[in-house]
Symmetry: C2
Subunit: 496 residues, 2 copies
């Protein structure tokens, strides 16, 4: 009997028992998961950094990680007030130090009072510290012009990622043609496709309209929904606003149309609003789904089910490493909400430091507080720089022949479309690579610039993109954009 | 047509659309999840606390939460050195402060160097900060008498819970009679049954031997395995050592027998070793599965698949709120390990503050460091008090007629068996409650003592237990134990 390489189902003949857990026996849903943002490009970037450290000669002196929305990794400084309060909470001896402003101390004491044993080291209740849920509720009310928010509908989470997966988990049911389908935008943030694969739900793609600055078009939603009904049971619609990777900010009318559509078609709405503080373009404004839904009145306000997600990872604070976030649920069935509560309790609680940061983000210093001026200045500086970088990115890319970039109205990314010559496409196919993966790999090898191929987010067949964050510091961003444009020109010549 | 209450499948007649997400349409696996540690008892405890605050008269003045292994919530103080380093990392301005010892500063600087942008606010790589994985590897090597550990086999996690669920996720496959079965101890820590329900895997119970101080008996493993093979495909065996809720510490011979059994029966081993620092009984000693497995030599050392879990939530530090932990995988198939890496990357990274605490736990101050003496004293004080409380608990309970408590050799819990009079059992059944739930509820209402009924962990049919942590401060623990014993006597009289 011949043993074929890669044939995992046979007992090996060298006396070794076959492993219990192999590619063939493991969870097939996990195998189907894809995740590009930390995929092969990033692994290669890590290797290159190591080679540089070892003194290997490269055509560049540093790897620039423009692949992930991680502001502080790109040099953005933490907001002082947030870290002061957190340090006080972590090490309450510091409450005696004269080096911390009064309002930071007050905040820290208030939070410690609300912690088990007055310590961040205690588990919180599973939905998050009650006081902080109340802070979040007040924040939402203010954000939405006074529309009430109930702390009991707010669940703190381990980053928004965790909350998104929790809500998807509730929604997944059925088999074969009754399997839950979930509509997601294409291009998408790949957490969605990954989580749906893992949960064995059906991913239903709707395409954003690149020609209209990545706008969401209800006719396209309808097309996707109708086609999906053949083979699954679509029950939820995910929206990312402001968009990742696409950077668009949805107009209010568009949100209304989406809500009407979801209501008519009986879809649970999931609004990923982690970039709600990241809106740069003139004329663009963030409208929360909760607010629009409520203002539309009954039956939408009273019946449409919605989950809205937020995070401490983005905005002006960029505190990714702390993994704080929340979900607000609206019009959720009470019994389902109990089930959600139970599900959360299995994982005990979200990390408390992330909860504390969230509390700062939703209740920052007031104008009368000693820390207000500095807080406000730091916050504005970050947001102003992001706005300038958004503009610069769009501008430089659009000056390059063969690159076309929609306005970066919000979030932290550009998602330019690149023309790739047919011979490059062919070469990529020979190598078994997506053409934009081939392009991005070459870009990385020759320039040290690490961006993610559009194929990792999804794109219309035959189009090619990459996602680049706008986060590198201003002095690096312009040369970076120019280098990238020049590389594209060279690449195009090479394969013409 | 009559509408029955609770009939979710009909469109309501009051003009409301039915919700998209209802008990009937939601994920049926989530519905099956049970989680007692934060179940109805704890909800009632919360209510009682609120009533006390509102001035409602009760037969007690405070609710004592002996339901959850959360040391700091019960008043244990954080270890100073851990919090100093963390505060320095959170707010690096403090590195200039004269109030922090040199070694804490060195540690903090070393960690910040290893963080993206030198900040805890950056995402780490998905498997955790490389430097900290190396620290963990060195810790394991030392713990295991020099047996090597590879940092690349170590994955940091959001508490041990997260790592346990990740490994279970990899193992789950098949349908009907080929569904993955996982052997878990009864009584168990209910994360296991909850995760298996959620993942739609088959839970295979093996009973610990209460008559032998909750020892694990391989004959019972074999019984459970054989019966399970009728209806599922058992592929993994979970061990909790030291045990939660049962407090036993496994003897080395027992671990060897378990490893031999797992190898012969082709079971993936999951060793939950989060209580490895919590061993109190004379003659008891912690042996890691990794060490025993390695010392058994081939084929065990070279082939038996193992995942071992640890956490910052327990031990002497009890830093539950930070959600730090890790898993070390041994003999995992390389391709599966890649899949695991990919799966982890979807969730971005574990919370960085938890990673930092883990780094301190695995590389504490050395004897030559300025913080050593204080660190050591604090650590010893906590462990010595836990040991005393373990002994006291066993002793007081065993003096009470109708209560029998095995020695608390390790971990943080006693799991005494209580005799409940037949009339109490009958009364409970009339109320639709498990008899021990009835007992614990009455205990809570009359004494303010919050413990978890044995039925939440599993127990042999017809036996009744409760789990009580040994964490209340010494001065509260003795009266608590006595009050509980007296309540049991009264309860017994009442229903005789
Ligand atoms: C659209 C979107 N949603 C959710 C997340 C998850 O963020 P976190 O889990 O860090 O809160 C991200 C992170 O990049 C994102 O871009
Ligand atoms: C046996 C056991 N495993 C795992 C855990 C999870 O701990 P954490 O997720 O806080 O690390 C616990 C917590 O009580 C436990 O008792």
């Amino acid at each position: 009997m011949a043993l074929r390489a890669g044939d995992h189902s046979q007992v090996a003949m060298n006396g070794l028992k076959e492993k219990v857990l192999t590619l063939d026996t493991m969870n097939p849903c996990v195998r189907k998961v894809e995740y590009a943002v930390r995929g092969p490009i990033v692994l290669r970037a890590l290797e290159l950094e190591q080679e540089l450290r070892q003194g290997v000669k490269k055509p560049f002196t540093e790897v620039i990680r423009a692949n992930i929305g991680d502001a502080q990794a790109m040099g953005q400084k933490p907001i002082t007030f947030l870290r002061q309060v957190l340090a006080l909470c972590v090490h309450p001896d510091l409450l005696k130090s004269p080096d911390f402003p009064e309002d930071a101390k007050r905040k820290a004491e208030r939070i410690l009072q609300a912690c088990g044993g007055h310590s961040l080291g205690a588990y919180s209740i599973s939905s998050g510290i009650q006081l902080i849920r109340e802070d979040v509720a007040r924040y939402i009310e203010q954000r939405d012009g006074g529309i009430p928010a109930d702390p009991n509908n707010i669940y703190l989470s381990t980053g928004a990622s965790d909350a998104i997966v929790t809500v998807l988990k509730l929604l997944v049911a059925g088999e074969g043609p009754t399997r839950t389908g979930v509509l997601i935008p294409i291009p998408q943030y790949p957490l969605y496709s990954a989580a749906l694969a893992e949960l064995n739900a059906v991913r239903v793609d709707y395409y954003l309209d690149e020609e209209c600055a990545w706008a969401l078009d209800v006719a396209e939603l309808r097309r996707a929904l109708c086609q999906a009904r053949d083979h699954c049971c679509p029950r939820a619609l995910c929206i990312i606003n402001p968009g990742n990777p696409t950077g668009q900010v949805q107009a209010r009318e568009c949100i209304e149309a989406v809500i009407r559509f979801a209501f008519e078609e009986r879809l649970f709405l999931m609004a990923d609003e982690v970039y709600q503080d990241n809106v740069y373009a003139e004329g663009s404004q963030f409208h929360s789904f909760k607010k629009v839904l409520t203002e539309m009145g009954p039956p939408y306000a009273t019946q449409q089910e919605l989950a809205s997600f937020h995070s401490v990872s983005k905005g002006y604070m960029g505190e990714c490493g702390f993994r704080g976030g929340y979900v607000e649920v609206v019009n959720l069935d009470a019994a389902v909400q109990q089930q959600m509560q139970k599900l959360l309790s299995v994982r005990l609680c979200p990390p408390v430091p992330g909860q504390v940061l969230l509390s700062m983000v939703v209740s920052p210093p007031a104008p009368s507080d000693p820390s207000f001026a500095q807080f406000q200045a730091e916050r504005q500086a970050v947001l102003a720089e992001l706005a300038a970088k958004a503009k610069l990115t769009e501008q430089v890319f659009n000056e390059a022949p063969g690159i076309r970039c929609n306005p970066v109205q919000g979030a932290m990314y550009s998602f330019p479309r690149v023309q790739l010559p047919p011979r490059a496409v062919q070469r990529a196919q020979e190598l078994g690579l997506a053409p934009d993966m081939f392009f991005c790999m070459r870009l990385l090898e020759e320039t040290g610039i690490c961006v993610v191929p559009g194929s990792g987010f999804g794109q219309r067949e035959g189009t090619y993109h990459f996602r680049m964050t706008i986060l590198p510091p201003m002095e690096k961003l312009r040369p970076l954009l120019e280098k990238l444009s020049q590389f594209h020109a060279k690449f195009t010549r090479e394969y013409s």
